[in-house]
Symmetry: C2
Subunit: 679 residues, 2 copies
């Protein structure tokens, strides 16, 4: 069933049938009438992608209207246009026979999801392209499957958003959470308060026309757009234009650093609420989604404590600490949101407030917040464990199930867990490398949120991620292609093989380590090796696997040199790579910071080869040269990150070295016992 | 003077000095006050690119205002903001010393041009990045240096336009000619005649907001935007919305094929002119440039001849043929353009009309039209020889000088030749591959139009194009990175080496050959090998050069095997490549069309190796195997394009084969004369 290895996310039910549906120039796509606008545009995009991938000059390159199912190779039918709101039906049913296929759904959203499935099923052999005959019945496990992009810390132009929306649609995500304001930038044009974007965005903001363009684009892809205006903290960018909102005197300037800042809106002034009421009303006219995200995270309360007026307000209102004050603020804001007919959403700090059942909590500080929310009767989505900016492997995110703690919850409470969101904070991403942080790892999260619970093997997951990664490229995503482009700039030449040999083995340091290493600002260049290197490095993963298989086989007493014959070539390549890379490093100042890492790689690869020789020559009389102590020293050195990247092949080489040392020691012990060498 | 090899276009005057200006984190950019908006944004972009390329965390990442020259590492000063119009001053003067640099200009446009020069001068050594000390005095040879992009045949989204504007600025081009309407699409939103874009664009058009966005973007880069509304031919897309403009009854549908179509507006109806007057008035409010391009090309007159009303009109107005009728139309349109305070521009067919001196003729059918225009006192720009859609080498375009026929013209007439435009028609380009047709070849045209007359060697040109090609990538251009992406899709895998080995040696067929091979429409997939392959293929160029050098040396009786040792490796690689590629081709239907080409390459490379063995073993007793007749046959077969691509290493291999055959024949003749083999 090899052709189903391509599905990501996996469908709920798949029943294979025998035979194939061949795709030829005569392929037609028919639509039941009346066809919704979303169906027509989705079908047209499908045909263009089908033609692009197959190279076929289709006789009918446009969807056919007013036809009956057997008149078209693929027939699409749904009952009604879907509404882009929570819990809308996205299910679909796909039947592929040897002559025809029918995709049916309750809504056109279901059709869009099903069309992506078909494109993933498309396969080729020597005879041409085909679809496997089968039946699929599919629907999402969770209704809220999102991706958040932070456009505030580093502005991400419209085309970045658009191509990522396409990527989302390809893996059946349905909520784009747009983090539009933060300390470093106010990224949405306001016509009622123009100084917000004029003084708060360094000229990098979305016009209202662009916002509408993105919303229309997302709508066509069946994706909701939930805007976030982060309040009352993360608000430095509001203040240069409207200092009256501030809790301090000022002067207020746009933040260029990162981390938790003190700025917080003044919750004690009635004017703050009047301002927000007007602002939210304007935004309610711009963003059609029923949910508005109002932030609520990381308020340190410093400015509130230092402001006499606010202190008085707290006493008058019996708000003993800044947490209670924030609760008060949150409740006021919730009322304002409600007044413009929207439902509020916020980071899990808002759980401290008394909130109506309509509110959605975005859980980020720990999974137990999901339980807390549910026990309080509040809806929630999971983002803890889905922070893709932290450079953890896809497998880690994949294992993170929103309902893995389900035993504690009743069935009704479980239903309050709506799904989750991958979260892309943008301290360290530019339009050049943001895609490589989002894709393909977000596809693993997408499967977790769409498919029935359960886990596939890491091999299965990564194989499917590799495949979807290629497909995502046709949508304009740059996660693959910008890697070599960035290496060309780093090397100052198109001849990047030795540099690539090194960076292929590197991952950016994980979690919040980069912040500790250097003082980053919004102006810091994001063109270094760490910015080109990618999480989930592929060659190291394979290397580790091969080494693991090899050593396990040895441990079981089996002699299996096949994996070694595969990874030996890599060790050879790495052991001589520094000689090739050194001249490039020498003429590229940007590479100086990884010069010693490159040297370390060649050293430890050399020791890896020594160790392998020991392991492969076990029992023979003359031991190959093997310097365990020096190897250990080099391995320890190689583990240290340089330029905020780390070599992720060190431990695997270390395992080889340790195994070799064990073999040698054991054999020496034996020789000691039996110095003649006789058996 | 190696560091000046990077300048493209070359400056008018460059006087090297000794020493270098080192770029460190302390680098500052100071602006004389008052600084224009364009200066500030240009300086900010410069700093971001400088930081990106050097990886430096600049202490002052923003331009400094209100400073004096010695307080900044680089100081920018100009007299006034430039106006974006013909003949505006773009000159600049750059002095780089060991401690400071000063860039001065009459206008901020000159500053932008100079900043690009500085970024091209940026070099690195083991100590870090630096600028060479020097003095440059630079100004353009021609005031009109353009790139035309056809957004009509295949729509090109805003981001495609923006990144190409950045590319233009990098090589000092200053006019973006935007071909907005044609038979296949009406790509600009009209608020007065909304059915134009609603019925004429398949939903792919620029909103007026987007047009403004592009104009503002271009303005910041010092680039004029000249819109083209092609009239009276190439107008099929106007007619579905406004059939009253047509010269036939209809029904009118959007054109999906290419080539010269019959549709032409009805020049006999007064309503046509009223419509155009209103439309042009709307567009005049949208596009600020003083020039409007009104097309005028390729009217075949068929619809006019077949329309009785039009025939009557021609008789009444004494217009004996359709050329005169078009002249009449052109003059009416010119008057309308003039009425909205714009100057008219058109393709060289409009030379048939009586036109005022303000008109600019775009010469495309032959260079003699430049002379005709000048003799008539009309301004002109050259595009004949700059049709970059025709896939000719950069060198060809580079040799094409607008004033190479200058002897026929007086000094005043010469001044009427304003410059030229590279022209990118879009029958065969998608947003994925358009950049690879524009860049880097357009940089060669840019040098022709900016730099003093004269030619550099092809080696010099191509070396500089290779370098600028890397720099252009930092602007988001995809000419390099989409190549491998497209190959990955073709191969259905990330392991593309054997496919790349082949496609690296292929160029798309040239001139108008593709139209003859297959019936293309706007729906045809542009994802085939021919769409990934690029003009001016680099490896073949080097290969041809090495073979040439080798054979020339032999002919002179010198024994120089060095080039052979370099190209022998390639021949080896190619000779076995088909074995590696065949399995990929087998599972990728899109590659079937080049299967025999791949086989042919391996065959002729094998014969190339045979020939080389003969040449290298001359004089030895035993000839290596060499089958001349079979080689000839295979070479002839390999010359045939397949899938609209051609192998561009065939003739070089043929030269090797012919040389080997000569050697062999000569030696056999000698042996015949002297059968003993004695000298």
């Amino acid at each position: 069933m090899k052709q189903f290895d391509c599905l990501l996310p996996k469908p709920a039910v798949l029943i294979p049938d025998s035979g194939t549906l061949r795709i030829t120039t005569g392929f037609t796509l028919g639509l039941a009438s009346p066809a919704s606008r979303r169906t027509v545009s989705g079908a047209s995009r499908f045909l263009a992608r089908l033609a692009g991938r197959t190279g076929l000059f289709l006789t009918e390159p446009k969807p056919l209207l007013h036809v009956q199912p057997p008149q078209a190779t693929l027939f699409l039918t749904c009952r009604r246009p879907g509404r882009l709101k929570l819990n809308e039906d996205e299910s679909y049913r796909l039947e592929i026979g040897q002559d025809h296929a029918v995709l049916s759904a309750e809504t056109d959203l279901g059709l869009l999801r099903g069309l992506e499935t078909i494109l993933q099923l498309l396969t080729a052999d020597a005879q041409g392209h085909f679809l496997p005959a089968l039946r699929i019945e599919d629907q999402p496990r969770f209704p809220w499957r999102g991706l958040m992009i932070d456009s505030a810390r580093h502005f991400q132009p419209v085309e970045v958003i658009k191509r990522n929306l396409e990527g989302m649609a390809a893996v059946k995500l349905n909520v784009f959470h747009w983090h539009l304001t933060d300390d470093q930038g106010f990224r949405v044009e306001s016509k009622v308060f123009p100084l917000l974007h004029q003084h708060g965005a360094n000229n990098e903001y979305y016009t209202q026309e662009q916002i509408k363009e993105v919303i229309a684009y997302a709508d066509a892809l069946g994706i909701r757009v939930v805007p976030e205006f982060d309040l009352p903290g993360h608000t430095t960018s509001w203040l240069p234009g409207y200092p009256e909102l501030a809790s301090t005197e000022g002067p207020h300037t746009l933040e260029t650093g990162f981390g938790i800042k003190d700025a917080a809106l003044n919750p004690a002034r009635e004017g703050t609420y009047t301002f927000l009421a007007t602002f939210l009303q304007e935004m309610a006219g711009l963003f059609p989604d029923e949910y508005f995200h109002l932030g609520g995270d990381e308020v340190n309360g410093k400015q509130w404590s230092a402001n006499r007026e606010i202190q008085t307000f707290m006493r008058t209102n019996q708000l003993p600490d800044h947490h209670r004050l924030q609760s008060y603020f949150t409740q006021r804001v919730q009322a304002l949101v409600s007044k413009v007919n929207k439902k509020m959403m916020g980071w899990d700090e808002i759980l401290a407030s008394d909130l109506p059942a309509s509110v959605v909590i975005q859980v980020w500080r720990g999974k137990e917040q999901l339980i807390t929310a549910a026990k309080r009767g509040l809806k929630s989505i999971l983002s803890y464990g889905y922070y893709i900016d932290l450079m953890q492997p896809a497998e880690f995110h994949y294992r993170n199930d929103p309902l893995s703690l389900e035993t504690e919850l009743t069935r009704e409470e479980k239903n309050l867990v709506l799904g989750g969101e991958a979260v892309m904070w943008s301290e360290f991403v530019s339009p050049e490398n943001i895609d490589s942080r989002i894709w393909p790892r977000t596809a693993a999260i997408a499967e977790r949120l769409w498919s029935p619970p359960g886990h596939c093997s890491p091999e299965d997951l990564y194989q499917r991620l590799d495949r979807i990664s290629l497909h995502l490229e046709e949508l304009g995503l740059t996660h693959e292609k910008n890697y070599q482009m960035m290496l060309r700039r780093l090397a100052g030449t198109a001849r990047i093989t030795p540099l690539m040999n090194l960076v292929d083995l590197c991952e950016p340091v994980k979690l919040y380590t980069r912040h500790e290493r250097r003082d980053y600002t919004t102006f810091s260049p994001l063109t270094r090796v760490v910015d080109a290197a990618r999480p989930d490095a592929k060659i190291p993963r394979t290397f580790r696997q091969l080494v693991g298989t090899y050593l396990q086989a040895r441990q079981k007493g089996e002699k299996n040199s096949k994996p070694a014959s595969e990874f030996r070539g890599w060790l050879h390549l790495w052991s001589v790579n520094h000689d090739a890379l050194a001249p490039i490093i020498n003429s590229s100042p940007l590479l100086h910071e990884i010069a010693s890492l490159s040297a370390d790689l060649s050293k430890i690869a050399g020791f890896g080869l020594q160790a392998l020789a020991v392991l492969e020559n076990e029992g023979e009389k003359d031991w190959p040269a093997f310097s365990y102590m020096q190897a250990k020293e080099s391995l320890a050195a190689a583990k240290k990150p340089r330029g905020e990247v780390e070599l992720v092949v060190v431990t695997a080489i270390e395992e080889l070295v340790e195994a070799a040392e064990r073999v040698k020691r054991q054999s020496e012990t034996e020789r000691h016992r039996n110095p003649s060498g006789a058996p």
